[in-house]
């Protein structure tokens, strides 16, 4: 490990940790379940991806070969985290979690009303 690779790996890990702190601020401060889901699914995924890429780079430089398990973990987290966020938002909407007071429009509600009137 020379100095420049240490700096690159450290910077990647630190960027990931800062994105996780951004997630924490969003999850505490935002007013609504749906906006909180926005914070939790996007920036948490990006933060853990930065940290895992830093880990992959460190072991690539350290041992000389790429760990396939870590690539698998990166791809898996990258695919499944938005799916989990989408499913949670959908479950929250259909189980009747109210929207925030500052919400301007609710596209899903108008779409469902249109479908109901169409059936009648």
């Amino acid at each position: 490990m020379n100095v420049i690779s240490e700096i690159v790996v450290g910077a990647l890990v630190l960027i990931g940790a800062l994105l996780t702190v951004v997630t924490m601020i969003g999850l505490i401060r935002l007013p609504d379940t749906y906006t909180r889901s926005h914070a939790a699914s996007k920036s948490a995924t990006l933060g853990v991806l930065f940290i895992l890429v830093g880990c992959l780079l460190y072991f690539w430089i350290d041992t000389g070969h790429i760990s396939a398990r870590l690539i698998l973990a990166i791809v898996f987290v990258f695919i499944t985290s938005p799916i989990a966020g989408h499913l949670l938002g959908r479950a929250a909407y259909y189980s009747g979690v109210p929207l925030s007071d500052k919400t301007v429009r609710d596209d899903l509600k108008t779409k469902q009303q249109k479908k109901l009137t169409h059936h009648e």
Binding site: V9, L14, Y94
Partner: protein, 94 residues
């Protein structure tokens, strides 16, 4: 040099995990709690990766994979339970 970066990152991630625990305890709805638990699982993956850099071992990579899979499956099962009241549904048409 690298140790300072890694320790500061561990500290930041632990502090944000405490923030997620606040959301789990307080969260007005159950979906908030499930969402914060999912984020805690993702944070545990990040902590495991940083600890494997600090210990210079590749033994924890299976732990990373398994934590990712278990967090995803748990979140999907919980959201299905929240939406329909059952995890495995037998009648596909609603």
């Amino acid at each position: 040099m690298l140790d300072i970066f890694l320790n500061v990152s561990l500290l930041l991630i632990s502090a944000s995990t405490i923030g997620f625990v606040y959301r789990v305890v307080k969260g007005p709805s159950t979906a908030d709690r499930a969402m914060a638990l999912d984020a805690i699982g993702i944070n545990i993956i990040a902590i495991t990766a940083i600890i494997s850099i600090i210990f210079r071992t590749q033994a924890f990579f299976e732990v990373i994979l398994l934590l990712g899979i278990i967090a995803f499956v748990g979140t999907v099962a919980f959201s299905k339970f929240l939406e329909k009241g059952e995890v495995i549904e037998y009648e596909r048409d609603q």
